[in-house]
Symmetry: C2
Subunit: 217 residues, 2 copies
């Protein structure tokens, strides 16, 4: 608890408000009020509204990447690592509910106004590790070939990411509470998503009569 300093109070309040209302609809004065400090103080810690926003994004994205890449680099079968990745992704998003909303807002911008380059770069890092995992799994015979590893990686990430992004719609489908499905439901979905991906990538049993004569591409 030890007295969070004003800078942290401001970052916390800004994170919440930016996630809820977006950058433009959030005013400096609102952030100051929510943080319990005077709005002029924001300019003591941050050069302007834009840099405050960047600082918020940086803090959040750092957490995400640290947690998910750690799982990907762990040892184990490709299947186990893939499952761990999907579940880690869900845990990070459960723990930081503001993250998906903010990232999605950034992704929706076509011009690189704010921190898109940063997100692109980091997304690429985490993403590429996942691509490699799929590729390695294919070479090791754990995943079926004939699936583009990049496409597979997109499919895998998409399942969980979309679940959080489309929360208002998901809520309707699952008859969940106003603020979205409870963590146990989210975890159940994450397990489903991992299973869905593993089933999609599973090596098909070679038919009893014509196993090896057919060779696909």
């Amino acid at each position: 608890m030890a007295t969070p300093d004003s800078r942290t109070l401001i970052l916390d309040a800004a994170e919440r408000l930016f996630a809820e209302r977006g950058f433009a609809r959030t005013t400096i004065k609102e952030i100051g009020r929510a943080a319990g400090v005077n709005s002029a103080l924001l300019y003591y810690y941050f050069a302007d509204k834009d840099r405050l926003y960047r600082a918020v994004l940086q803090r959040l994205v750092g957490r995400l990447v640290a947690r998910t890449t750690r799982r990907l680099e762990a040892t184990g079968t490709p299947q186990a690592r893939l499952q761990a990745f999907v579940e880690a992704q869900a845990e990070v998003l459960i723990a930081n509910p503001n993250l998906p909303r903010l990232i999605v807002r950034e992704l929706a911008e076509s011009d690189a106004v704010h921190a898109v380059e940063q997100i692109q770069h980091i997304a690429a890092t985490s993403f590429r590790l996942l691509c490699d995992l799929v590729r390695e799994g294919q070479q090791a015979g754990a995943f079926r070939k004939g699936v583009d590893p990049r496409f597979a990686a997109i499919s895998i990430v998409a399942q969980v990411a979309y679940f959080f992004v489309a929360r208002p719609a998901i809520r309707v489908i699952l008859d969940a509470a106003p603020d979205g499905p409870a963590p146990p439901v989210v975890r159940a979905y994450a397990r489903h998503a991992a299973g869905f991906a593993l089933a999609a990538l599973a090596v098909p049993p070679t038919g009893p009569s014509a196993p090896r004569s057919r060779r696909k591409t």
Copy 2:
């Protein structure tokens, strides 16, 4: 080309700008300029900026739902219908590149500021049809049981939706042009996504003494 009327010119310009920059960052004057009319004229056709935005959303969402539900209601095997749905989803998003950006922005809002209820409702309509399709497929023995149909529907929609939403990140993964992957790549991905879902839902061969292996198309 028969002289698009001012109202349509305004809607077109507004759609593009809202999608590119978001609601708040787009000014009435910019829209007027882009439409080639005076900004005061917007208030002749629309009560205020908010209602203009709603009109833009309505036009777009209408197209999306019309196209995708039509595919779901078509006849055929569950597998064929699912595939048609996924590819139709991709086609609509290719044809209306502004749609995913706008919808995503709406979904990111936590308070129902603009047209979230509408999107929720329509998403639920389209979504529920997909749930039903999966459920029917399971009962007919075409899809494996033990997968929650609602979860499966989310996984299916997520793959294509996320592809468009996360365009800036996808671009990096696929080494695509600045304005995203070309339509042929998108279609290839859509086929992958359909295949990924069908493989994930395929009925596993029952045990070693089972009927001969199934080959999906």
